[in-house]
């Protein structure tokens, strides 16, 4: 099928060929296969140009249900291989015209991929999100202020107090986030902080204050998760996800 495109899920060592689970299927239920080029191998499947050509792809990425099902299918393939053999997962929607182009890419990036695979070997990624707890301090007694100051002055004073309290609280949340990140980064090999999502996505409240990923030695993972469990602050609610394939640390250092 020369007109089909080639979708890349992950790149690993040539041993991937022997560890790929039989019957594994990817996007659109297409069979997943491996393209080997010397010491590297790419995990791929064929995709239809009608969905993955440049123009249809751009349109499809605007469609959340398409995006969600493609992301899930991509992840399912990566998840099926990364525990057996170290891999560098690719960003969503990396598509080549044919196998030869994939082989050429593997050859030209061999050194960078081998270095990356060394960085992630024996390590796993954990995701940590921290949400600011809504203001725990009590509201001032409005009736009392109204009697002492009159309604106009009381209104202004309440406004000022609210502003001061909000900025104090923001400072506490910030300090708590920095402490949490410092503690967790100390038990990890690498860490990365994501840009905080639009509040319309995370909901408001609770307010997302930290969205970070930590690359942790497999043997140190129970230490890491217990560090998350034991860290406490009245200002933050912490959520842990993982272990993930090393998505957040799959960066090629170009020579």
């Amino acid at each position: 099928m020369s007109d089909m495109l080639v979708y890349l899920y992950a790149v690993g060592g040539a041993a991937l060929r022997t560890v790929l689970p039989t019957g594994l299927s990817g996007i659109g239920d297409a069979p997943v296969r491996v393209i080997v080029a010397d010491r590297l191998a790419a995990v791929v499947s064929s995709v239809d140009p009608l969905g993955f050509g440049a123009e249809p792809l751009r349109r499809n990425l605007e469609d959340l249900s398409w995006l969600a099902s493609t992301a899930r299918a991509h992840h399912a393939v990566v998840d099926a291989v990364w525990r057996r053999e170290p891999v560098a997962p690719l960003r969503l929607a990396t598509v080549y015209v044919d196998d030869d182009n994939v082989r050429a890419m593997l050859h030209s990036r061999e050194a960078a991929f081998l270095a990356l695979l060394d960085r992630v070997r024996g390590r796993q990624e954990w995701g940590v999100k921290a949400f600011a707890v809504p203001d725990p301090e009590a509201q001032p007694d409005e009736d009392d202020d109204d009697r002492k100051l009159g309604p106009g002055a009381a209104y202004l004073q309440r406004k000022r107090e609210t502003r001061d309290r909000t900025s104090r609280l923001r400072g506490k949340v910030h300090d708590a986030v920095e402490d949490l990140h410092r503690v967790l980064a100390a038990s990890a090999e690498h860490s990365r902080r994501y840009v905080l999502q639009d509040p319309r996505l995370s909901g408001h409240p609770p307010d997302l204050a930290l969205n970070a990923a930590y690359l942790v030695e497999q043997s140190a993972s129970s230490n890491f998760t217990s560090a998350v469990d034991h860290w406490r602050s009245p200002y933050l609610q912490v959520e842990l996800t993982g272990p993930w394939a090393p998505y957040s640390f799959a960066t090629l250092e170009e020579s």
Binding site: A54, L61, L67, L90, R91, M105, G203
Partner: protein, 57 residues
Amino acid sequence: MTLARRDDDLYLIDLLDRLLAGGVVLSGDVTISLAGVDLIQISLRALISSVSRMVEP
């Protein structure tokens, strides 16, 4: 604004963080090429419009 959000949505957002902002980027020699920044903006637009639809009365 309050969103009724299922665990599945939380998982999807975590997954999209990783697949749209993480992962190896192969630009230049990728024939079907979309810049990373474009991807994130496109997907955020999709997510936001979908969330907005969810909260409409």
